[in-house]
């Protein structure tokens, strides 16, 4: 702490810029101290805290602060020091003076913990990426990964997982993500062997992202299904995982599962991650449309998303009305957006849903309609619309989308009378399912109730407790019997 006091003496309070740099410097030093103790006591918690603090500092990082921090943290003249300093632009003279003064007062660290070295890589990388110097970032991250491979300590995992992330990011920004795929796989392999779960989680996501970037859904799914799964450590990584999973499943036509994971990802994502949530919502909307559901209007009017979701809103509208013509115009109008989102192929799949909805509308409004009219209403633009309409109607009937028959002789579609629904068993089954749902919910709630373990212990004796348990059991049995009676 004495050094910090000295530092304060050094600074001139009138110059606000310098004071801000020195305060950043001071914070950095505190973080370094945190890492130091963390590595000494082997407490992962401290390191994690250091990384969190760094993210807060991110905006304030400047070249001069960084270079002086490097002077402070690393042994000048060592390999890591010279390599890292080459990435950082030198600050102006005055700053350097202050820094050299402060680092001169510092007794050089006798032995440098590996954590601190890796941390230096991390912070320089962060700086480079913020400055958009992606090529330098690429070099720096590759160097850090090479260094990481030689270190096997659990305390490093937190920083390492961040490093992996920025490593991949810097390569993605320069557009050669495919290059590092082999490297990432090797890293994932060693992370698994070292039981570095955070690293595994991050790397798995990076790999999935890597594959999906090149539309290699097949390989992504194979990797995902084979990779070990465990309780998620970081919420963000879990969100990403869910999103990628949703994407893969959408492509493989498992819409129900895809919808579930996409919605979950959108819900779990932090409020600040607007871009991510927009992406999730876009995909979720498409998946729901493909499932034949119509998303509610409130989804499209979420805060900050109206503009981004506009094309999808119009698309939904077209599907809802079942108008092929409108669908086609929307598709053309926003084709750039869809191509950018890489959802174009999914939208092509939707065409079939549009026809379905249109047909359902027709069958509701007409009890009997000729096939040429169906073709005209659906606006099927082909050489032989009547024959097309006939087979489309036939398939819809077979799939159970509409309740009708085809009168081949007269060439028309006859919808069955819906009749009085209350004369059938329909209301009862509907009631049944609702009651079952309520009962289930109640049972689940009862099961989920938790009582603090010690409140009853003193008051009731063993005997009383046994009695109470018996009562509860009877009650449960009674309830179960009632359930049986109901159905």
């Amino acid at each position: 702490m004495t050094q910090d006091v000295e530092m304060k003496d050094n600074q001139t309070p009138s110059q606000s810029i310098i004071s801000s740099t020195t305060s950043t410097m001071q914070l950095l030093k505190e973080i370094a101290a945190l890492i130091d103790t963390g590595s000494y006591t082997k407490e992962v918690r401290r390191i994690a805290r250091a990384v969190r603090l760094t993210i807060g500092l991110r905006r304030k990082l400047t070249g001069s602060v960084l270079s002086s921090f490097l002077d402070f943290a690393l042994v000048p003249g060592s390999e890591a020091h010279s390599r890292l300093s080459s990435f950082v632009p030198k600050g102006d003279e005055h700053d350097m003076e202050v820094d050299t003064a402060s680092s001169a007062t510092q007794a050089p660290l006798k032995h440098l913990p590996a954590e601190l070295e890796i941390y230096c890589y991390f912070i320089v990388l962060l700086f480079l990426i913020d400055q958009k110097k992606y090529n330098e970032a690429k070099e720096c991250s590759s160097a850090s990964i090479a260094r990481l491979k030689n270190v096997n300590r659990r305390t490093i995992d937190v920083i390492a997982s961040r490093l992996y992330f920025y490593y991949s990011l810097s390569y993605e920004q320069t557009g050669d993500l495919a290059e590092i795929r082999g490297n990432l796989l090797a890293l994932h392999h060693s992370a698994t062997l070292r039981h570095d779960e955070l690293g595994q989680e991050t790397l798995l996501n990076l790999l999935l992202r890597n594959y999906l970037h090149y539309n290699l859904y097949d390989q992504a799914e194979k990797l995902r299904s084979k990779a070990p799964r465990f309780e998620a450590h970081s919420n963000q990584q879990f969100c990403r995982y869910l999103f990628y999973l949703g994407k893969i499943r959408t492509i493989q036509l498992e819409y129900t599962d895809a919808k579930e994971s996409l919605l979950q990802a959108a819900r779990k994502a932090p409020i600040a991650a607007l871009g991510f949530r927009i992406q999730c919502n876009k995909w979720a909307i498409l998946v729901r449309l493909l499932l034949g559901e119509i998303p509610e209007r409130s989804i499209f009017t979420q805060k900050g998303m109206e503009k981004a979701l506009r094309p999808y809103f119009e698309l939904t509208n077209a599907v809802r009305i079942g108008d092929l013509e409108l669908f086609r115009t929307v598709q053309e109008k926003f084709s750039d957006t869809f191509a950018q989102d890489r959802t174009h192929n999914l939208i092509v799949r939707l065409r079939h849903n549009v026809i379905r909805t249109g047909l359902r509308n027709i069958s509701i409004s007409y009890s009997r309609i000729s096939l040429p009219d169906v073709a005209k209403k659906l606006r099927l633009n082909s050489e032989n619309p009547v024959a097309d309409a006939e087979s489309i109607v036939a398939k819809a009937i077979r799939d159970g989308a509409i309740d009708a028959t085809i009168d081949h002789k007269n060439g028309c579609m006859v919808s069955k009378e819906t009749g009085d629904i209350y004369s059938t068993n329909e209301p009862q089954t509907a009631f049944n399912s609702r009651i079952a749902f309520c009962l289930n919910m109640h049972n689940e709630a009862v099961r989920a109730l938790r009582f603090p373990p010690n409140t009853h212990k003193e008051k009731e004796s063993d005997e009383k407790r046994r009695e109470r348990k018996q009562q509860e059991e009877e009650l449960a049995k009674h309830m179960a019997e009632e359930d049986d009676d109901d159905f």
């Binding site: 097949d218 493989q252 036509l253 192929n345 799949r349 065409r351 079939h352 082909s382 036939a394 398939k395």
Partner: protein, 184 residues
């Protein structure tokens, strides 16, 4: 020239001759010999070593597998088709920046799409589709398969039936016949 390479290319010439003669039995014999010979090249996937003749070796290997795929269609062997196609795929995907694009590529990809359609493996069909760029999707061979899938989903079977006449290549006819059978 590398002696191994000469051997392979001679063998391949013989294979092509038999292929033109429609002598499919000797074709498959020659093909299996060729495949064994190919294993000796170190520049092929998955190793991708930089040997002096890498480009020629890759090209000839790709040619061989392309022929193998077409042959399996002619002999109406779907399993062989799948096997050969998966052997061929790395040449299209991973060796893209090592080789000039093959003129046969779209034809083969379209055939594969059609095969997935025939075998009712729609999920894989769409996965393959995602791999293709929008430019390739405009290609007549690919477009044919994509439109077929759409009419299939809509239920416009008569369009599928009439598509047989518009098939872009003679090899497509086999799969189209299978499809027609399914529809009926």
């Amino acid at each position: 020239m590398d002696p191994q390479l000469t051997e392979v290319s001679q063998q391949f010439e013989r294979f092509k001759a038999a292929f033109v003669r429609k002598d499919y039995n000797s074709c498959s014999d020659l093909l299996s010999q060729l495949k064994v010979l190919l294993t000796k090249f170190r520049s092929l996937p998955p190793l991708f070593e930089n040997t002096p003749y890498a480009a020629q070796e890759l090209t000839i290997a790709r040619d061989i597998y392309e022929h193998a795929v077409v042959l399996s269609v002619k002999t109406e062997d779907q399993d062989a088709f799948e096997r050969d196609f998966f052997q061929l795929k790395p040449y299209y995907v991973d060796a893209r920046n090592r080789l000039p694009a093959s003129p046969q590529e779209n034809l083969i990809l379209g055939l594969n799409l059609l095969r997935l359609l025939v075998q009712n493996r729609i999920a894989e069909f769409h996965t393959e589709l995602e791999l293709l760029s929008s430019a390739t999707l405009e290609n007549p061979c690919i477009k044919h398969a994509v439109e077929l899938e759409q009419s299939f989903m809509e239920g416009a079977y008569n369009r599928v039936l009439s598509a047989r006449q518009t098939a872009p290549d003679a090899t497509y006819v086999y799969f189209m016949d299978l499809l027609a059978k399914t529809i009926r």
